[in-house]
Symmetry: C2
Subunit: 323 residues, 2 copies
């Protein structure tokens, strides 16, 4: 078994996992990454693949990705590539990974030119989401994970959105029963969307609500300044605003979303960025077609559509929700 | 369109291809690799992916792999990875690529630890095999391609094997009609095998007849000393010998294969290699299961099976056909 983890998760939960794995009697080769998105890069991918080659991994080896989205994306990408594909299991240790990145089979790394520009569709054979692992998660990261939970309301389930408005205080207390319900519903929605469109020919794109603006914020401000979930929170406010201005959506979407994000401990006003840079970064988004930027917009709560919008209107929405 | 080629092919055939592509009116971004297997590596893959990112490639870009197996494997692997998968077209310019590597969707690069340890299954949307391109191929490379043509006889089609024994002189003259027949039958057999087993769970492995020995020769002697097809030719003789000793196959298989390879301009005696190293390299083969080496053997001409054999017997076959 090929265990991949990071320097934060291993000291907290590594011993417990290794004790479980020891019961199988199979040898475990561990590769421990430094923590952080900065390490989801070409060099880490190379080191991991060469480590497996040195360790004598073969086609029957199984990869265990034990960490957050960075570990899952990188280990999944390496699993997809090593000998043209090893089986892998996701054991997500962050809320973000439990409700989003561990489900759906997207793997990848960042290039200097952009996030997730290199990767693969490679489904895990299993995802083991243990909410007990979330107890050690820092407050800020937990809140960032809530952004992706909140996302599923506007795009697919208005009842879930209303339920979250009531359940948010208990979620922030990490009440395990409430948390399990939120994780389960999030995974159900994601699985249904991905099941309909694994390769993102169409409907899968709705999972990127808030991400076109969010990715531009992350890249423009420098990776690491905002957590991914924080950028998505800000991006969702901008995309809700654009839904209102471009499609005439009820402006209550914007105010309810802002209120819920605030209770979740998330930012709702973005740091200022140069508009020309902002637009250029959005144009580099994978959903673009021949330079035309398309956004996931919400005509009504619980529904999402991929819609092109004028640059000026998009930038006005950015400005309306920036410092 | 994203054209990938090498420094040998572009001066010979690049202008003609670009003139054709210009008719489409779509811009072409060209990436030209140095020639040779040594460049099918991690660094070339990185350079190519970053070049596409800089060039503003998007999901709708189409990759054209214009060259031999190295270009096809590398460009295909990059196409599989860029934005999690671009469409790509193979335009193979060597005989080896026309009858083998361009068909079947295997892509990959080498690691220092072994050949094709990193890669992906990514089918081209089309393969354009123009026998006119083969006229400029050096004699030695052309012969190396014939090794993979010859392979299809023993593993799948005894009539084709007999036909090749008669047709070989015309093939070596590069008679276009004879060549077209040989390429077509080779691709038919390969497509049928791959169609039955894309991911090499079982029958696809028979396409590796001669390759377990051959890969060990290539790696042990240092890549570049033998062409891949030459190593496969030597490996087929050894595998035929092992078929005879281990399964009692008619020894005429060995002598007919040797005669045909000789007429094709291929070597039939391997340079000497240390047996311990030879065995160690074969054990690293992707077909190995828990260190047990399995070989593609020929119980009768036109049939192939994956069979484990004792190390001593395999090494005796190596010795019998080495200097």
């Amino acid at each position: 078994m090929l265990l991949v983890s990071n320097e934060t998760v291993m000291p907290l939960h590594g011993a417990a996992l290794k004790a479980e794995l020891a019961l199988s009697g199979r040898p475990v080769d561990s590769f421990v990454l430094p923590d952080g998105e900065a390490h989801k890069n070409w060099q880490s991918l190379q080191s991991l693949l060469e480590f497996w080659a040195e360790a004598g991994a073969d086609r029957h080896s199984v990869v265990l990705a034990f960490g957050g989205g960075v570990v899952g994306d990188l280990a999944g990408c390496a699993a997809a590539l090593f000998m043209r594909g090893l089986r892998f299991i996701q054991i997500p240790t962050t809320l973000l990974a439990q409700v989003d990145s561990s489900v759906g089979g997207k793997t990848g790394i960042n290039l200097p030119q952009g996030k997730n520009l290199v990767g693969s569709f490679h489904q895990p054979i299993a995802v083991w989401a243990d909410q007990g692992l979330l107890r050690t998660l820092p407050e800020r990261e937990f809140s960032a994970g809530l952004a992706e939970v909140i996302k599923y309301g506007p795009i697919a389930d208005s009842e879930f959105f209303s339920w979250l408005e009531g359940a948010m205080p208990a979620l922030r207390q990490r009440d395990s029963e409430t948390l399990a319900l939120a994780v389960r519903r999030s995974c159900e929605i994601k699985a249904a969307v991905v099941g309909a469109d694994e390769r993102e020919g169409g409907v899968r794109a709705i999972l990127n609500f808030g991400h076109t603006f969010g990715h531009a914020l992350e890249a423009g401000l420098g990776y690491g300044r905002l957590l991914h979930g924080e950028a998505v929170a800000l991006g969702m406010v901008m995309a809700a605003e654009l839904s209102h201005r471009h499609l005439g959506t009820d402006p209550a979407l914007v105010s309810r979303l802002q209120a819920l994000l605030r209770v979740a401990g998330l930012p709702i006003r973005a740091p200022r960025m140069d508009p020309a840079l902002f637009m250029q970064l959005m144009r580099g988004d994978k959903k673009s077609v021949s330079g035309m930027v398309r956004y996931v917009l919400i005509p009504a709560i619980g529904q999402a559509e991929l819609v092109a919008a004028p640059d000026e209107m998009a930038l006005a929405c950015v400005a309306a929700h920036s410092e």
